[in-house]
């Protein structure tokens, strides 16, 4: 690891030492991975709270949620990760068109997930409908004790991340559209992809914790 500082114009106070792109990329990668590790503690604390609070007589419980909606939103999110990956690979070979399309698709899928959680699971508009005997809108209210508390906390914290991820994808898409990024230099794309995958992986842990583990609690 030689010193990274390039000192050729260090005497002029207004132009700092230039850090080569490759070097900066190394910093950035470590930085974002550290950020991901940091966030593990956030989500882990929520998971711990979930297993502590969602208990009835020592038995793990979970709320009554629509399995169908959960499955659909989860699949949508997983598929979106595939598109992000495709986009990142594409920009690596300067295939701008595929990159832009994939990112747009991923962002739209992210939006669908977001709507699935906010409109359907949270049911913020208070709708009611059944399709083929399945209730598609959730019925938990914030005041429904710890069941609702943890549910909204976990989905809420995750959704904030999804929302910021969507915005991130859009920004990258927009800048990509303007001609930024190429196969050599596309840290922005890589960062957004890592972030998006990360948010996805978090859901891979949250989904079973919310929808699958424990026996259904009928409040």
């Amino acid at each position: 690891m030689s010193a990274v500082v390039d000192h050729h114009d260090a005497h002029d106070d207004h132009h700092g030492p230039v850090i080569p792109y490759a070097e900066q990329l190394k910093f950035n990668r470590l930085g974002i991975w550290l950020f991901c590790i940091s966030e593990i503690f956030l989500f882990a604390a929520l998971l711990v709270a979930r297993f502590v609070l969602w208990q009835e007589n020592g038995e793990i419980i979970r709320p009554e949620l629509s399995q169908e909606v959960g499955l659909i939103t989860t699949s949508v999110l997983l598929v979106s990760s595939y598109f992000v990956n495709r986009g990142e690979t594409a920009i690596g070979v300067d295939d701008r068109k595929t990159f832009l399309n994939s990112y747009l698709i991923a962002a739209v899928l992210g939006m669908i997930f977001f709507i699935g959680v906010v409109v359907f699971e949270w049911n913020i508009f208070g709708l009611e409908a059944t399709i083929g005997g399945i209730e598609v809108f959730g019925h938990l209210k914030p005041t429904d004790g710890v069941i609702a508390g943890i549910f909204f906390a976990m989905t809420g914290m995750h959704t904030i991340h999804v929302l910021s991820g969507i915005i991130f994808l859009f920004i990258i898409w927009n800048n990509g559209r303007k001609g930024h990024f190429n196969s050599e230099e596309h840290w922005g794309v890589e960062a957004s992809a890592i972030y998006w995958h990360y948010v996805d992986v978090v859901w891979v842990f949250f989904y079973p914790a919310l929808y699958l583990v424990g026996s259904v609690y009928h409040g």
Binding site: V5, L53, P142
Partner: protein, 717 residues
């Protein structure tokens, strides 16, 4: 669009607006003082009496005096607004007030505050939109309005203050080269009042803010200490007392975090030979997010305060006044600062070390910074969870901790302490690093057992993660949990002991001199020892059952925090003062500071422990005279005042010495550390000639030992 906004923000007009607001604030304060003074009854009577000589009837005074005063106040206010606005446009530059308003109106602090206020209103209005829509009355002080307003306000500070401008420009797809040096058209010193990316500038900003916050917290302490100097309620009400000690606790902790930021930011990059941190903009963000968060905590005191202490236990936190919301939000937002700067530090030390500087050849302080960062970037997230859950439970009617709705109050304590215990090691590790760094210089001996000291920092950090529940021995958790936590708690003493023994071994046969930094280093060892050895007695459950929530604990943690942070921080400030300013401080005043603060502190800390053992509970505004502890309480209060004075002496010393004292030269202490081989003050990018490491850092007493030397010119890899 982004560019247009930025261009506007940098325009004369915008400057005039903000300077005008600064003027309005100053004028407002003057006008308010004028009205409060001149409209009191006594003052009116005095005026009547005097005007009697001029044969003016009293009734005329009754009618005209208030009018006159109000007109005068209005004029003062208006003049200040105009001077402010004018100075923002470049006028009045030869008046002191004009220059002040000119620079204040350009400073990030003023811009940020304006943004904070505007965004607060926005958030509060947004909530009220919903309130009115759902049929509730319009109320800007409603709890949900306060919370969203407060949250927005921090964002507002950052956006309007210009902290995130580069990021927005990047989002818009613009080039964002790093800007070094003072903002265009501003003098060099103005960098300290604006968003600057240089790690040394940010370090100084952290340092100043830390001292300022320390003074605020100290004033709170002095206030409630005066209250405690006698049993019964003197001049505070119970709720005011509770708010004061709660705010004292959290404000002091913010001060420590800022001080840690100061030391790590200023020192770590220089010591490893880097030109700056790995992410300079993020570094600036870390500093600037802390400032509005601190203001939120103060705002929390203004909107009714809170009762819970700095730990914010539920269910009390769910029932106390709304101040708790702003306290928790402020605490939470300052966590972003910790996380971001910790990540920055780790990346910097991982990748930016000078050639040849292997891990075990780093100055020992860098190890401490690294260990601290490891704690900060992980554990901080969990306290964020505990705090946001409480905020949500109050503001959104969710349930987590309220047993009435099935919540679990003990869960809060677990999540909270999972951060807050490791956090106490965040407070001390850099300080202990400073001690290890300074001892070899002043004893002219190598640091004894360098490797083991370095690893013990990591040891403290790691074991520190496994002991959190020792704060909860009486909380009612299962005994199957109590015992393991007792064992792990006892084990943290071991790596800390390693440091003590190594320091002593370093001192042994050292040829010591006793300049102020060395005095503070020795003081730190003695005080931290008191704090440390009062820990295991809390760690064994049977004794903790007596001592928990008594003043013994208060004595314990003041000793650890003073010994682990305040004393080393003072040592560091004296030691690096010549490097930072290029001038020596006044040795006589430094010694006076030391000889006031050490005895003051010993009295305070032993006094607190003493009253604690006999039965003085924590967090009480009034104590039982039957305990017979009033004398000790008076001593503690006097000691607190002495400590306060001594800190003021230090600040005075630093304020004047840079102007009056002789130039210090490159290396007044004869240190081997790289930063002392460079000129004082350090150049913008630290080392004009990069160095490489060819030896061990602390080879004092070894003939011809070399640590760093100029690196051969880069040959293109």
């Amino acid at each position: 669009m982004m560019l247009a906004i930025v261009r506007f923000a940098r325009s004369r007009a915008a400057h005039a607006i903000v300077s005008g607001i600064v003027g309005a604030t100053i004028g407002g304060i003057f006008a308010w003082i004028l009205r409060t003074v001149l409209l009191t009854e006594g003052m009116i009577n005095a005026v009547k009496f005097l005007s009697g000589f001029a044969l003016i009837p009293g009734e005329a005074i009754d009618t005209f005096h208030p009018i006159l005063v109000n007109v005068l106040a209005a004029v003062i206010f208006a003049v200040h607004v105009m001077v402010g606005a004018g100075s923002g446009m470049g006028l009045f530059q030869d008046s002191r007030m004009g220059r002040f308003m000119y620079y204040a109106g350009a400073s990030t602090y003023a811009w940020g505050l304006v943004g904070q206020v505007i965004f607060w209103l926005e958030g509060a209005l947004l909530v009220n939109l919903f309130r009115v829509w759902s049929g509730e009355p319009f109320d800007l002080m409603a709890e949900s309005a306060l919370v969203l307003g407060a949250f927005f306000s921090v964002v507002g500070f950052l956006i309007v203050g210009g902290v995130m401008t580069d990021w927005f420009l990047w989002i818009g797809g613009h080039e964002t080269p790093l800007h070094h040096g003072a903002p265009e058209g501003m003098p060099e010193w103005f960098r300290y009042f604006s968003v600057d990316v240089n790690h040394k500038v940010i370090g100084i900003q952290y340092g100043f803010t830390s001292l300022f916050v320390l003074l605020v917290g100290g004033i709170f302490a002095i206030l409630f200490r005066l209250e405690l100097s006698a049993p019964g309620l003197q001049f505070l009400e119970a709720d005011q007392y509770n708010t004061l000690f709660s705010a004292h606790g959290i404000v002091m902790i913010v001060s420590i975090l800022l001080g840690v930021g100061a030391m790590v930011n200023y020192l770590a990059p220089v010591m490893i030979g880097a030109a700056d941190m790995a992410f300079p903009r993020l570094n600036a963000f870390s500093y600037w997010v802390g400032f509005p968060s601190f203001l939120l905590i103060l705002a929390g005191m203004a909107v009714g305060g809170w009762d819970t202490g700095w730990v914010g236990y539920s269910p009390l936190a769910l029932r106390t006044a709304v101040g708790v919301q702003l306290f928790m939000l402020g605490f939470y937002m300052s966590g972003f600062s910790s996380i971001a700067s910790a990540i920055n530090t780790i990346v910097t030390t991982a990748y930016m070390r000078a050639k040849g500087m292997s891990l075990f050849r780093m100055p020992i302080f860098v190890w401490a910074a690294l260990a601290t960062s490891l704690i900060q970037f992980t554990a901080t997230q969990t306290v964020g969870v505990a705090l946001t859950m409480t905020i949500a439970e109050r503001a959104l009617d969710l349930t987590f901790f309220n047993p009435e709705n099935g919540g679990n109050p003990v869960l809060y304590q677990h999540i909270f302490w999972f951060y807050s215990h490791p956090a106490v090691y965040v407070f001390i590790l850099p300080g202990l690093g400073i001690i290890s760094e300074l001892l070899p210089v002043f004893t002219r001996k190598p640091l004894f057992g360098y490797r083991w000291i370095a690893l013990s920092s990591l040891g403290i950090a790691l074991v520190g993660f496994l002991v959190w529940a020792h704060h909860m021995f009486t909380s009612g958790m299962a005994d199957t949990l109590r015992v393991p936590f007792m064992i792990t708690t006892m084990l943290v003493a071991v790596p800390t002991g390693v440091k003590f023994f190594s320091w002593i071994a370093t001192l042994w046969e050292g040829k010591m001199t006793f300049e102020t930094p060395m005095l503070f280093t020795l003081g730190a060892i003695s005080v931290f020892l008191i704090g440390g050895i009062s820990g295991p007695i809390l760690g064994t459950i049977p004794t903790d059952l007596h001592l928990h929530d008594s003043y013994w604990v208060v004595g314990h943690f003041h000793a650890t925090m003073f010994g682990g942070f305040i004393f080393p921080f003072c040592a560091a400030m004296y030691y690096w003062y010549p490097k930072i300013t290029g001038h020596m401080y006044k040795e006589s005043l430094g010694k006076l500071h030391f000889w006031l603060m050490v005895p003051g502190f010993w009295v305070m800390s032993f006094g607190q422990m003493s009253v604690g053992v006999i039965g003085m509970r924590r967090r009480i505004s009034d104590y039982d005279p039957a305990l017979g502890i009033q004398g000790t309480h008076v001593l503690i209060t006097i000691a607190a005042l002495v400590i306060g004075w001594s800190i003021l002496i230090m600040i005075y010393n630093f304020a004047v010495s840079a102007r009056t004292e002789p130039v210090a030269g490159r290396n007044p202490w004869g240190s081997r550390s790289p930063e002392w081989q460079a000129p004082s003050p350090l150049p913008e990018f630290n080392f004009d000639v990069p160095f490489e490491v060819v030896g061990d850092p602390y080879d004092y007493g070894l003939e011809d030992a070399i640590y760093t030397q100029a690196a051969p010119a880069p040959s293109g890899d």
